[in-house]
């Protein structure tokens, strides 16, 4: 019995391999249309899923605005000439960064030293992160979203510091939401993708988020279970991982960098698409549909890259949140000083 099972297994494997080969050559032909992918076959895991694993970063689009400047109209990509210009700016910046690290008697400021921040390694081709609508701008807010009472701290970069609640969920080390956790910012853009049979997990450096995405066809969790990062479910469309995320808490984070912007509602649904484009490239695309906040769904997309030596580190955000206690105690000290000055008058 055991013997026959092994033989039939071997036959199935061979047959499956033949079918997979036929399928591969078909997809290779389809891929020919895309530049830079001609001689590259997307790898598979030993259990047959497309293999997206590695640590990916959105660093190359650091500084690319979410919303396109209006004067650029429908122009999504820079021209080759404009890219060359941006490339030389990056090189200059790199030189400046080196200077700042080694120069003695450098003037210090309260901001982080420049060598803390991550830099693009090559210029981002896009003029905006929003790719649809064609004008590259976040759609208008619905009237109900404009009048929604938003939490004091949401999207607040200049808090009055009466309480921790005056600060954003990011500054409080709670969450940046799903999109805020992958949109490129000054550092901590690492996305470590790991896969197992039936699961994909994405470990994100900043705020040490960890998304566990079942890809086994199970339904969403009950809508009564709500969270900052939502309830993700994945499936494969050819070589693309498609993740649908629902069950968000409403009125927490927005679709901006670090989760800023108008907070989305509990009706938010995200459809993300992760597609490898080469040995070190992965295209990220997310469709944002929040019928209680935006007048229409819209799409954000940008490339992620794998870079030699780039890895995630433990980002113990809350554990080391001295900024919070220092900001609050600083504000109390200022109030005390102001009260004493007033008494003297």
């Amino acid at each position: 019995m055991r013997h026959r099972l092994a033989v039939s297994t071997a036959r199935m494997v061979v047959l499956a391999a033949m079918c997979a080969l036929a399928a591969e050559s078909a997809s290779a032909q389809a891929a020919k249309a895309a530049p830079g992918t001609e001689n590259w076959t997307p790898p598979k895991t030993p259990w047959g899923d497309p293999d997206l694993q590695g640590t990916w970063t959105s660093d190359d689009c650091i500084g690319t605005p979410l919303n396109r400047p209006a004067n650029l109209g429908d122009k999504l990509y820079y021209t080759e000439r404009e890219l060359a210009q941006r490339e030389s700016e990056l090189a200059k910046q790199q030189q400046n960064d080196l200077q700042e690290v080694v120069a003695p008697d450098q003037r210090v400021s309260t901001g982080p030293p420049s060598h803390w921040v991550e830099r693009a390694r090559r210029p981002c081709r896009q003029t905006s992160l929003v790719v649809d609508p064609p004008n590259g701008r976040t759609p208008d807010l619905l009237p109900e979203a404009q009048t929604r009472r938003i939490p004091e701290g949401a999207n607040n970069n200049n808090p009055k510091a009466d309480s921790w609640e005056d600060f954003s969920y990011y500054i409080r080390c709670i969450s940046r939401g799903v999109t805020g956790s992958i949109f490129p910012v000054i550092y901590g853009n690492g996305q470590q993708i790991m896969q197992a049979p039936g699961y994909v997990t994405i470990l994100q450096e900043m705020v040490h988020e960890a998304r566990v995405i079942p890809v086994d066809g199970r339904p969403h969790a009950s809508p009564s279970i709500r969270s900052y990062m939502g309830d993700p479910r994945g499936h494969w469309e050819k070589n693309t991982l498609v993740v649908e995320t629902t069950n968000f808490l409403g009125n927490k984070t927005g679709i901006g960098l670090n989760g800023g912007g108008t907070p989305t509602s509990d009706a938010l649904k995200l459809i993300e698409r992760y597609t490898r484009t080469g040995s070190s490239g992965l295209q990220y695309e997310v469709t944002i549909d929040d019928p209680k906040t935006f007048t229409r769904p819209f799409k954000v997309a940008f490339p992620l890259t794998q870079e030699p030596g780039y890895q995630n580190f433990e980002y113990a955000c809350h554990e080391g949140n001295y900024a919070m206690s220092n900001s609050l105690s600083g504000a109390r000290a200022q109030e005390k000083a102001a009260a004493e000055a007033a008494k003297k008058k």
Binding site: R2, L5, A6, T9, M12, V13, L15, A16, C19, A20, A22, A23, A26, S27, T45, P46, W47, G48, Q53, D162, S163, W164, E165, R172, C173, I174, S175, Q192, M194, Q195, A196, P197, Y199, V200, T201, L203, H208, E209, A210, V212, P214, A221, S222, I225, S227, Y228, M229, K238, F313, E314, A316, H318, E319, M324, S325, L328, S329, A331, R332, E335
Partner: protein, 270 residues
Amino acid sequence: MSYRLLGWVLVSAASVVLFTAMPGNGQTSPATTSRIPRMPDGKPNFTGLWQTLGTAHWDIRDHSTQPGPFSQLGATGAMPAGQGIVEGGEIPYTPAAAAKQKENLQNRMTLDPEIKCYMPGIPRANYMPFPFQIVQSQRDIAFVYEYATSNRVVNMGKSREAAVDTWMGTSNGRWEGDTLVVDVSGLNGNSWFDRSGNFQSDNTHVVERFTLGDADHINYEASIEDKTIYTRPWKISTVMYRRKEKNAQLNEFKCVEFVEELIYGHLKKK
């Protein structure tokens, strides 16, 4: 049916057979070997949602029932009695470390990292009263813990030295037969073992052993060594259970919001 779809169906069918019928490497009994899930290369597959039962999160040593710190919580806040997970029963503290543990216990409401929603460290993360998800790839293995979304990746490649000390440490794994052995170094020393003040230091070295007893149980052991606070190496052992409910999944337990009043309350505008 397209070739692609047919291919998928067959690959899936073959995988199912492979996963269940892949022979072991002879280190465990055939009866056990046939019952544990395996990766395509034959290694045990730990992927799944797991949780440790018991009361070790209160105290890893044997302990009696005790009242909780707040009478308002009534019976729900009390600490149930439980068998410890320390082999031999006692933690071999040096006299100074034993005194520090007592001090920790007395001041646990302000000192216990769990009360402040800090990352739990290793091994504590493994037996908190929360599930955790293992995602095992053909290379490295991710552990995602529900509590505070703490997580770690066990590097199964060439052993890497800890770049910096961290809460969750640096995990290097290897296989000893069907046992996953994880060497944890670079712990920052801020973690406790439980709610009773049992503690580690930044010299603590933990070696964990994960063995599938059958498809739904992991026999877990960790040996703990630290000459600065323990007089000899010591060991804990417990069992992790697979969460079998058909809708079981990792949920989100972001606890920062629950501790801000506690941590920053004195700095709030009056």
